[in-house]
Each structure stands twice: as structure tokens, then as C-alpha cells.
């Protein structure tokens, strides 16, 4: 860094320092599996049917079918539709996907007759924008939703409860937990189930653990969905994943038989990471996974890279591929929890770009899930968006008026639900004789942003609690009773309502979530997008919820903050009006033209300097050169250039300064055009007192016929507009409201009273 490197443009060194450069990028190399959309090893789409039976699939004869081919041939392909669907031109089908006049149902039907190679061939013809549009049209449920991770580095149940309650308040439709230590599963499940029952009922909950354990926890009633049933696109990967399509399909039926919602997991990159990609493209392999899932009869999938997202993002077109595989999922009529979880980049720009198409298009569950907790507390690994950045996401919703499934939570409400959840969990653990939480433990958790800040249960405590829950066969009924007997009747009701969902099984249907106490799914809320005005639209109520972000400025707020400074300024300065200001002949005379509200309604610059200080240093600097500063208030304009020019025209020296209340200033000369000034100080937020002093000195120098060094206000490229323009526009509006057409300038006598800061 210190030693200059010859023969290198130093910009590359700058770039080396950016977080982006921590990301690694892989060369396209289909032989070794690094190909997103197509590979010479991908088969050409083809099916042969004889006697109503599939006898060859994508170039493989029945005799050579691997178990995935076999499953797809038997359970996915509909022989009645195959001839029609496979005969269609892929480019034509691609156009139908983005044609709002072609109904979703028609395309879903065709997909039942398409092989993985055909499906991949079609979607690979769409560019990223077309994929996002098609996704928006094809996703199964109309109303978008979101899923959040709730975990922590200590498996601390108090924090899990608090964070689950917070996630519910934020609006997540599903929360998912997992553990650092496998045996803590039961404690995690109880803690999240209780936390998710605070505030409202209906947030579905999953505890991701070993297959058998997860099903047992579900049977005990603590969880309501499962999604870690992974499938793979090659046989060898499947076997290394220790399953087959039949074992997974059996598991799918087992979950349904226990009344538990379930989806599978797949995604680009898993075969590559597990070493058996067969040189096939990521998209083709994922198309196989998805046909398999539809054949298994699962209601949905979690795909879009998932754990393979980071490696997929290293490949050219990797992010587009993840969008394409999500499109395949919804085209196959599966609920789609569309990835956007495992963090695929260190670049915040790539993070923002990754999430945008999903936020705008909507998705059953936009993230699967988003880290509602801090990165280091995420036991799944950091998500695309985490507790740190969650507020950015809330703002994106507001920026694009796009429903990302979440709502801002006011600070008071956050504390309230966290505290309620912690108290409820502590009461249940005490009632069941599992553990006692001290007041200090509880307080530390309620206010903690992450587990680094808590003084709570140790991992050993948690292991003992968890093993006892399991050993004593404690079920959700015991927890409901404990809640009610300790006065948490509302939470008891909420938890019971979630368990009751399994009696009717309504939430086992495609894309089901619970909203306002009702099951909403692709059955009763089907996506009916057919162009502008159709499909999902923000209701006024939902829009208002999304807009409720904190620290929003309005003019009342600006005036309130100015009023705080008014009293302070009245002790520093007196403005005395002397009558109409006239042009003077005195060549020693330099006019400082102030704006209509200067010191009357507005009292500090956007940089926070008192206007009395600003005026005082300019006056001093002019006087220091033996000249006479005259202060004139203009009322016909609030514009800096015209303030400056008007001031110059009144000055005997022909030189004037124009300054607005917000601190924007100009040095002007009477013979110049309005916007062709001598010096302009447009960055008021970074203009310091010494710059104003320099401005006075330079105005004096110009008046004396000198050519001074212009005052430079150094900028480091801050986004001034983002930081200040809302306030500036409101302040300026206050000034412009005070102007009057043709109002004459007023000579002002100023007395500085206080000590300058």
C-alpha cells in the first residue's frame, strides 16, 4: 500500500480492498460441473412412449434408467400430455411464459408433459428480467410471504423465544430454527414454539434436525412444518445424501400422515459440491430434482441454490440460474421458498441485486429464510439478508412499494414482545420444573441484539433441559397447560390454534400459510396475474403497514427542531430592521445578503452551525480587510444566486455574499449573470465555520480587486442528497413561503451578544 507499484493502475489496488474481492469466481468449465445453464453433456429433450408407458427419457432408454429417471417417468410425466408438450417449440413456450394473456393453468398443464431437459431448454431462453416476470406470473399463491431464521450461538432458549416473537412481529409467515448442538433440538423447539405464539397466532415453525428426531418433535406437536428433505439431481449424489426418491417420498407421506406441512429442498451446486455432477449443467440437474419433487407429491420446494448458492454464484450466469430454477419450481406448480438464504457474497451490492427480482416479483416465501438474527447467531450460516441488514430490506419494500412480507416494528413493541416471550418461556420452564431463569438473565436477553450480549443459560444447561424434555415425553399439550396456568392464556390459545391446523390438514395444500387466522394457499388464493391491475396488489392497509418505518421527517418535525434552537439564538444575536436597503456608492462596502427566514424562522445551517456564528465570522473577515460589511435581508427571493447577485448590486464595491438559512452561500459580483458567480458553496452540510470565514475574506479580497485562492470545501463523496435533501427541501419550502413578489430588501443591524462556539 505504502510503496507505489509501478506499472499498475492504482485503481486496481483500491478495488482489491473492497469486500467484493473476498468473493471468488470460477471459470466456466462444464466438464467439471461449473456451468449454469447448459453443458454439452446435457441431453436433448426427448421422450418415447409405448403402450402408455415411458420407454425412453431425455435420451436414456428405460433399461438404463437410473432411479431418478425411473421416478420421473413413473410419477412426473403424464403420458396424455407428453406428445403435445414435447412437440412444442421451446422458444414458443418461453414466450408463453412471459405472455400475460396465456393463463398460468395452461402452462402448468404443459409442464406435466415435459422432461427435465425440455423444461430447462425453455427457461434457459429467458433473460433475467423475463425470468422475474414469468416467476411473478407463475408462482402459485397470489399473496407473497417470507420466512425467517431464529437461532443463536448459545442455543439459548430465552433468546430463541424473544427472537421468535420478534420475527412474528416483523411478519414472517414461517420461522425456522436449528441448533449448534444436535441434542438441544427439543429445547430449541419448545422455546421457538412459545416465542412464535406471542402477539398473534399462525406463524408456522420448523426445527431443522436429524430426520427421525425432526419427525418426533413434530409428533410432540411443537413444530408445524419441515423443509430439510433434500433431493438431488444425480443418482450418486442422492445415494451419498443417504436417500433415494422412494425413501424421500415415503418421508413426505409420513409428514403428511402426522399433519405436518412439508416441502423438499434442492438447488444448483449441491451435486457439484458433493462431487457427482456428471458434467451436467446446474439448471438441468435442478430440473430433474423438481420433476422428482412434483412426482413425489410434495406441495412445495425450497430451491434457488440453497446451500449451493455460494458456489453457484461463482459461475457466469449463476444468479440468473437461481432465478431460472425458482421459475421451474413454480411452473411445476410447487410452492417455492425461493432461497435467498445462504449468503453468496460479501458485496452488499450483489446482496441487494440478488434480492431485488424476488422482492418485485413476489414469492411464496421470498427468503428461506432471512436471518432475523445477527450473522454470528445464525446456526444455518449467515443469510443473504440478516438482522444487521433487515432494516435495509424494510426500506426496499417502501422504495419499490413491493410487498416483501415484512413490516417495521416500533421500538416499544419490540421490547414488549421480547419481554413477553422471555417471561412466558421462563414461566413454562419453571412450571415444568425444567429450569429457573433469574431476572438478570431475562433482562439481558430482552435488550440483547445478539448472544454476545446475553447472560443467560449456558450450553450445558440447555443440553440438560433439552434431554429432560425428550426423556419426560413432554408434548405441546403440557406446554399449553403450563402457559395457561401461569397466566399466559393468550399464548396458550395461539399455540393450540397452530396445533389444531393439523386436524383438518388445510395447511398441507400447496403454498399454505396462515394470515389473520385463516389458511391462505394456492387453492383459495390462486395467483391470477393477467397483466396490470390483476394478481397481487398492495391494499391501502398493507401499504400503510410497510410505510411505517422509523425516523421519518416531515415539516412539523423540521419546525420543531428549529424551535429548539430559537431560544439559544436569541441569546447570541439581535437582528434589528432599519428600513429599506439602498444601493451605496461607498467602494468599501460589501453586502451580506441573507434569506427571508434567516434567524427569524430558521436558526442553524444543515451542518449544525448557529447562524449567528456564521454571520459573525463573515463580518469579522470583511472588517479585517478594512472594509464595511452591510447586512441586508432579501424578501423577494430565497435562491442563493439571486441573493448573492442582489447583494452585489447593492454593494458599493460591487461584491456581495448571498446566504440561505441552511448555509448554502455564494460570492457574487454585480456585473455577472445570476448563475455565473465568483464562488459557490453548495455543500452546506460539510461547510465549516472556517469556510464561512474564508468566504468573508475572499469577498473582501474581490472587493479590493484581488484574485484570492478560492475557498475549497473538501468532499469525500458523501451522498449529501440522501442525507440532507429531504430536510433541505422542507427548510427551503419554509423560506420560499416567506418570499413576496417585489418585496424590497431591508437593511439589518446585527448585534452579536454571546461568546462564539
Amino acid at each position: 500500500m505504502d510503496k507505489p507499484t509501478p506499472n499498475r493502475w492504482k485503481r486496481f489496488t483500491d478495488w482489491d480492498e473492497r469486500p467484493l474481492r473476498l468473493d471468488k469466481f470460477a471459470a466456466e468449465d462444464w466438464k467439471h460441473g461449473f456451468s449454469a445453464f447448459s453443458s454439452p453433456a446435457d441431453p436433448k429433450p426427448a421422450v418415447k412412449i409405448e403402450g402408455g408407458k415411458v420407454v425412453s427419457l431425455d435420451g436414456v432408454l428405460e433399461h438404463d434408467f437410473d432411479m431418478i429417471d425411473r421416478f420421473i417417468a413413473t410419477y412426473h410425466l403424464d403420458p396424455d400430455i407428453v406428445p403435445e408438450a414435447m412437440a412444442m417449440d421451446s422458444a414458443e413456450v418461453a414466450r408463453m411464459l412471459v405472455d400475460m394473456h396465456v393463463p398460468r393453468e395452461k402452462l402448468v398443464r404443459l409442464a406435466h408433459g415435459m422432461t427435465p431437459a425440455k423444461l430447462a431448454d425453455v427457461v434457459s431462453r429467458l433473460n433475467a428480467l423475463e425470468i422475474a416476470f414469468a416467476y411473478s406470473k407463475m408462482r402459485a399463491r397470489k399473496t407473497p410471504g417470507n420466512q425467517g431464521h431464529v437461532t443463536n450461538a448459545k442455543d439459548d432458549p430465552l433468546q430463541l423465544a424473544a427472537d421468535a416473537a420478534t420475527a412474528v412481529a416483523l411478519g414472517f409467515d414461517e420461522v425456522e430454527t436449528t441448533m449448534r448442538v444436535a441434542r438441544n433440538a427439543w429445547s430449541n423447539a419448545v422455546a421457538c414454539a412459545i416465542g412464535a405464539a406471542v402477539g398473534r397466532w399462525g406463524t408456522l415453525f420448523q426445527c431443522s434436525s436429524e430426520e427421525a428426531e425432526e419427525l418426533r418433535i413434530g409428533m410432540a406437536g411443537f413444530t408445524s412444518y419441515a423443509e430439510t428433505v433434500s433431493v438431488y439431481g444425480t443418482e450418486k449424489t442422492f445415494v451419498d445424501g443417504d436417500d433415494t426418491p422412494w425413501s424421500k417420498a415415503f418421508l413426505a407421506a409420513a409428514y403428511a400422515s402426522r399433519g405436518i406441512k412439508m416441502r423438499c429442498t434442492s438447488g444448483a451446486g449441491s451435486e457439484l459440491l458433493m462431487g457427482f455432477h456428471e458434467s451436467k449443467s446446474m439448471l438441468y440437474l435442478e430440473a430433474r430434482c423438481l420433476c422428482l419433487q412434483r412426482g413425489m407429491g410434495v406441495q412445495g420446494t425450497q430451491n434457488g441454490g440453497i446451500d449451493g448458492a455460494p458456489v453457484t454464484a461463482t459461475v457466469p450466469g449463476g444468479m440468473r440460474e437461481m432465478m431460472a430454477e425458482n421459475l421451474l419450481a413454480v411452473w411445476l406448480d410447487l410452492e417455492c421458498a425461493s432461497g435467498n438464504d445462504a449468503r453468496p457474497t460479501e458485496s452488499e451490492i450483489r446482496v441487494g441485486a440478488k434480492i431485488m427480482p424476488y422482492l418485485i416479483a413476489g414469492s411464496d416465501l421470498i427468503c428461506s429464510g432471512m436471518g432475523s438474527i445477527l450473522k454470528y447467531d445464525n446456526s444455518f450460516n449467515p443469510s443473504l439478508i440478516n438482522g444487521e441488514e433487515l432494516e435495509d430490506y424494510l426500506i426496499l419494500q417502501r422504495d419499490f412499494e413491493a410487498d416483501g412480507g415484512l413490516s417495521p416494528v416500533p421500538e416499544g413493541q419490540a421490547l414488549e414482545v421480547r419481554s413477553r416471550a422471555v417471561e412466558a418461556l421462563a414461566a413454562v420452564y419453571e412450571e415444568l420444573g425444567l429450569a429457573t431463569a433469574t431476572p438478570d438473565m431475562k433482562v439481558s436477553v430482552v435488550v440483547a441484539s445478539g448472544s454476545d450480549e446475553t447472560r443467560s443459560f449456558t450450553p450445558r444447561d440447555v443440553a440438560l433441559i433439552s434431554e429432560e424434555i425428550k426423556a419426560r415425553s413432554i408434548t405441546v399439550i403440557d406446554v399449553i397447560k403450563a402457559l395457561a396456568s401461569r397466566g399466559y392464556r393468550e399464548e396458550a390459545e395461539n399455540l393450540l390454534n397452530v396445533v389444531k391446523l393439523r386436524v383438518s390438514g388445510d395447511y398441507l395444500q400447496t403454498s399454505a400459510v396462515v394470515r389473520n387466522g385463516h389458511v391462505v394457499s394456492a387453492v383459495n388464493d390462486p395467483n391470477d396475474y393477467q397483466g396490470p391491475g390483476s394478481g397481487y396488489r398492495l391494499s391501502e392497509d398493507r401499504r400503510r403497514e410497510m410505510l411505517g418505518i422509523r425516523d421519518v421527517l416531515d415539516q412539523k418535525e423540521v419546525l420543531r427542531s428549529e424551535a429548539l434552537h430559537q431560544h439559544d439564538e436569541s441569546r447570541n444575536i439581535d437582528y434589528k430592521t432599519l428600513g429599506e436597503a439602498k444601493p451605496s456608492d461607498d467602494t468599501k462596502d460589501v453586502v451580506i445578503g441573507i434569506s427571508p427566514g434567516f434567524g427569524l424562522k430558521l436558526f442553524q445551517t444543515t451542518a449544525g452551525h448557529r447562524l449567528s456564528d456564521v454571520l459573525s465570522v463573515m463580518v469579522e473577515a470583511v472588517k479585517a480587510r478594512g472594509l464595511t460589511p452591510r447586512i441586508v435581508r432579501f424578501r423577494h427571493t430565497a435562491d442563493t444566486s439571486f441573493l448573492g447577485l442582489s447583494a452585489a448590486r447593492l454593494a458599493g464595491s460591487g461584491v456581495g455574499i448571498g446566504i440561505q438559512s441552511k448555509g448554502t452561500a455564494v460570492i457574487h459580483q454585480k456585473d455577472r449573470l445570476p448563475h455565473n458567480n465568483l464562488e459557490l458553496f453548495s455543500n452546506a452540510p460539510i461547510t465549516r465555520i472556517e469556510h464561512y470565514r474564508g468566504m468573508g475574506a475572499n469577498a473582501a479580497a474581490y472587493a479590493l480587486g484581488e484574485m484570492p485562492e478560492p475557498v475549497v470545501v473538501p468532499t469525500r463523496g458523501e451522498a449529501m442528497g440522501a442525507r440532507y435533501h429531504a430536510r433541505v427541501a422542507m427548510i427551503y419550502a419554509i423560506e420560499t413561503e416567506m418570499t413576496a413578489e417585489g418585496a424590497s430588501p431591508v437593511e439589518v443591524s446585527v448585534t452579536f451578544k454571546g461568546a462564539r462556539s
Binding site: M67, Y255, S257, V476, I480, K500, R502, V503, S504, T510
Partner: protein, 139 residues
């Protein structure tokens, strides 16, 4: 009567026909009933009838594969948890030593647990596993 997608959500349109494992309708599954001990976890389990009804809904909504899965699930409702886990384990690669072992499991599902769809499914797996050499020992 078979259900259609217009009957959905069944809990809202047919609350009295949606009953827990021991015949209690949804309306009786209240917090007070839980607290008094009248309702237990058994009453909060899904039934084959409910899964059949959801299969009807799924089929009516154009999702025959989902419907089939619900029917396989209906077969499994009364199968004890440890049996389910045993069968699942047996279906994983390399667990069964041969085709016959899977066929025996299928027979048990058909004869003892009255789960014919599951039995067919396991038999089909047995054939595929044999063809693909999935009976080899893995650990």
C-alpha cells in the same frame, strides 16, 4: 361425498366434519377442554378421512400427485412412529440387504397395517433398488 376446492378451507366450510383422532370435532378442541384434560394430543392428530378430503381438494385443484401423496399419508396415519422410522430406514440406500427384505416390509404394511398404497410403493422401490444395485452395504 367428495370434496372440491370450493370446500376449502375445510376447517372453515365444514368445521363439524373435521374431527380429531378420537372423533371430537374442531369446535370442541378448545383451550378449556385441553386444560380440563378432555382434549389430549391424540385429539389433535390428523385422520385418514381428513387426508382423503384434502386429496379430493388437491385433485379438484389440478394437483393429482399431491392428492396421491395425501392418500399414501392416509395409509400411514395409524402406523406407529417406530414402524414408520424402521421402514424409512429400510428404504435408505444399502440398508436392506436384498429385494426380499423390502418385499417383507411391504407385506407387513399391507397385511398388518392395512396400508396397501405404501406396500405397492415399497415393492416398486424393491425392484428399482435391485436394478440399480442399491442393496450394497454402505457402512
Amino acid at each position: 361425498m367428495s370434496f372440491t376446492r370450493h370446500d376449502y378451507p375445510l376447517a372453515e366450510h365444514h368445521p363439524d366434519r373435521m374431527k380429531g383422532k378420537r372423533g371430537k370435532p374442531l369446535s370442541e378442541l378448545t383451550l378449556d377442554a385441553v386444560l380440563s384434560g378432555a382434549v389430549t394430543i391424540e385429539d389433535l392428530r390428523i385422520t385418514p378421512a381428513a387426508l382423503q378430503a384434502q386429496a379430493d381438494v388437491a385433485r379438484s385443484a389440478g394437483r393429482p400427485r399431491l392428492a396421491d401423496n395425501f392418500l399414501r399419508a392416509a395409509d400411514l396415519v395409524d402406523v406407529p412412529q417406530d414402524v414408520i422410522m424402521e421402514v424409512y430406514e429400510l428404504l435408505r440406500p444399502g440398508r436392506a440387504r436384498n429385494r426380499e427384505q423390502l418385499r417383507e416390509a411391504a407385506a407387513t404394511m399391507r397385511d398388518v397395517h392395512k396400508a396397501p398404497r405404501i406396500a405397492d410403493f415399497i415393492e416398486e422401490a424393491a425392484d428399482v433398488y435391485e436394478r440399480r444395485g442399491l442393496f450394497s452395504k454402505r457402512f
